[in-house]
């Protein structure tokens, strides 16, 4: 017997999926098509005419040292954001998993940062680390450290990484906690009786059993770091100093809307489109198969 619901005609099912199709068409297919189209042209400085250049924009981009530097910046930035947010989240989840009393409160409080929009999170961190009036800057000053992310490239990168990772910890924490709680308690107890102490148990039992969650989060966090951190970077550093925090998605904005080089900006969007497609394919291929067991 067919268990799925099946429809006789074509009209009703089409009607039912229409809203989704419309949303996808308006907000994805149309802009993506526009990006691909525009990436083949160079507009004149006043936007009055466009000149067809084929793959010229791409050729120029790939030989542009600034663009290649931005690739490296993105790689560093997204690895740091992913490692920091997942590492801290896993640590907190392991602690919360061991907690019996008050775990509800603890969990609720940990989830709150997720509700803060990236741009707002960026402003919050900017206030704390403001080079003149920031609270943290002031305390660092007392300790004899002169914080200045406006001039120091490393400090700028550190700040945007922390601000981006912060809100993300909540999200990762939830998944890690759910993953930890899905591991049967008796398996952990069996390992304890087998002689494994906490760290050994974590390394040989818990972490391997958590690997499907870890892998899922890895992909999701990389995608996040690539695309959704725009607000944080825009509010804190605007890509500076000296493009030290200009990740690919910020460069799309900076070159297109600030630099008015729409052709190059469109070509960069297309490259990002390819990158995210690859990530999605990886995600589906491995997560659907479940890692490890």
């Amino acid at each position: 017997m067919e268990k799925r619901v099946t429809f006789q005609g074509v009209l009703l099912p089409l009607l039912l999926v229409l809203p989704q199709i419309v949303v996808t068409a308006v907000f994805f297919f149309y802009p993506a098509g526009q990006a691909i189209w525009q990436s083949l042209f160079i507009p004149d400085p006043f936007g009055l005419s466009m000149r067809f250049v084929g793959l010229g924009n791409f050729e120029f981009l790939l030989s542009d040292p600034y663009y290649r530097a931005s690739f490296v910046t993105t790689a560093i930035f997204s690895s740091l954001v992913t490692v920091v947010s997942m590492g801290v989240a896993l640590y907190l989840a392991v602690l919360a998993d061991r907690l019996i009393k008050g775990s509800g409160t603890y969990r609720t409080l940990l989830i709150w940062p997720y509700a803060v929009a990236p741009a707002v999170a960026g402003v919050l961190w900017l206030f704390m680390f403001n080079t003149r009036v920031g609270v943290v800057t002031w305390y660092l000053g007392l300790l004899g450290y002169d914080w200045n992310h406006v001039l120091n490239e490393g400090e700028a990168m550190g700040l945007v990484v922390v601000a981006s990772a912060w809100g993300r910890i909540s999200y990762n924490f939830l998944f890690f906690l759910a993953g930890l709680q899905a591991i049967p308690k008796s398996v952990i107890e069996a390992a304890a009786i087998d002689g494994a102490r906490f760290w050994t148990r974590f390394r040989t039992i818990v972490f391997p059993l958590l690997s499907p969650t870890t892998f899922f989060l890895l992909v999701v966090n990389v995608v996040y770091a690539f695309f959704e951190t725009f607000g944080v970077i825009h509010t804190i550093t605007s890509g500076g100093p000296q493009q030290a925090t200009t990740i690919l998605v910020y460069k799309v904005f900076a070159d297109g809307f600030v630099g008015q080089d729409l052709g190059s900006s469109a070509a960069q969007s297309v490259i990002l489109l390819v990158v995210v497609s690859v990530l999605t394919v990886i995600q589906f291929k491995y997560i659907e198969r479940r890692v490890h067991y």
Partner: protein
């Protein structure tokens, strides 16, 4: 090989005490079965011996040494869990070798001990498989294998057979018994199944609401239950109870008489100790269970030989039994003499 002693062992969760002081002395190599209905605290007791639950009061001693504050891994025990608790991401070999590997056992010795255990449990062909590729019975064997390769002083079993089907359960029951005999390791086995308890135990501990009601050899417990609970829990169908004053004027208020179904004989109506009406009979082949209703609507069961004539439904009959077959329990459910 080791002795295990529980002395006035108590467990509380907050203000609620769930185990009210249990004393058991287990000899080296003895097979002890803790049996009781769900919620009686039997698993909690076992987990305290394992070190998975903190002891609230009293003492657990393994081989004479107090282990209350000793971590599970340092107690020299092995445990078989109800759901087997196999490591799903490891092969059968790795599952069995895990404890040895952590203990730093040399590789050749690990291989030897695992293959010995695998031979003993007929798992040799499955060493490369993952737990999910095994049947329930095979998983059960792997869990056993994981316990025996470490050569522990004490085996702990937490309802290890309750996830198996009836036939496999009987087979594994025998295997566990043989294995324990061959290895001579002290074993503590928790179950809610009284048949398992009767067949496996050297001595059994009948738990009731956090108290060990009776400790003794299975047949001894069966023949001379010390409380009404034990009389009712051990034996299937359970012991029949009637108000003692019905048969013995002068017995204290609330006292009850217990008679096992197999000790009851059918006699002509008007004779015997009690009168009853036959409700229905269950012929099981070797024996027949006859369900009866007494004058006060209480239920009563008798068990007779399969070849004996089965009384008709609705018939009035008399019930008789020998005096030494009846058990008198006081109002506090403790056994009184007589």
């Amino acid at each position: 090989m080791a002795t295990v002693t529980l002395e006035n062992l108590r467990k509380s969760y907050g203000p609620t005490e769930v185990i009210h002081g249990v004393d058991i002395d287990i000899a080296d190599g003895e097979f002890i079965v803790i049996v009781g209905p769900s919620g009686c605290g039997k698993s909690t007791l076992l987990r305290m011996v394992a070190g998975l639950e903190r002891v609230s009061a009293g003492e657990v001693r393994i081989d004479g040494t107090r282990v209350n504050d000793v971590e599970p891994m340092d107690r020299n025990i092995a445990m078989v869990f109800q759901n087997y608790a196999l490591y799903p991401h490891m092969s059968v070999f790795e599952n069995m070798a895990y404890g040895l590997k952590i203990a730093g056992t040399p590789k050749p010795e690990i291989a030897e001990r695992v293959s010995d255990a695998a031979r003993l449990l007929q798992l040799e062909d499955y060493l490369g498989r993952r737990p999910r590729e095994l049947s329930g019975g095979q998983r059960q064997r792997v869990a056993m294998g994981r316990a025996i390769v470490r050569k522990p002083a004490v085996f702990l079993f937490d309802e290890p057979l309750s996830n198996l089907d009836a036939k496999l359960r009987v087979q594994m029951r025998l295997e566990i018994k043989q294995l324990q005999r061959r290895l001579g390791v002290t074993a503590l086995y928790v179950t809610h199944d009284q048949v398992e308890a009767m067949t496996l135990a050297d001595r059994m501990v009948v738990m009731n609401a956090g108290v060990a009601d009776q400790i003794g050899a299975p047949l001894e417990v069966y023949a001379r239950p010390q409380t009404a609970f034990v009389a009712g829990f051990i034996g299937s169908p359970p012991t029949n109870f009637v108000a003692a004053q019905l048969l013995r004027p002068g017995a204290p208020d609330g006292a009850r008489l217990g008679v096992r179904p197999e000790h009851v004989r059918v006699v002509s109506p008007g004779e015997g100790a009690l009168q009853a009406r036959v409700m229905y009979a269950e012929p099981l082949g070797a024996e027949t269970l006859v369900h009866l209703k007494l004058a006060d609507d209480a239920l009563f069961t008798l068990r007779q030989d399969g070849t004996a004539p089965v009384p008709e439904e609705g018939a009035e009959i008399g019930l008789a039994w020998d005096d030494d077959a009846q058990m008198l329990f006081g109002p506090d459910d403790r056994r009184l003499q007589g």
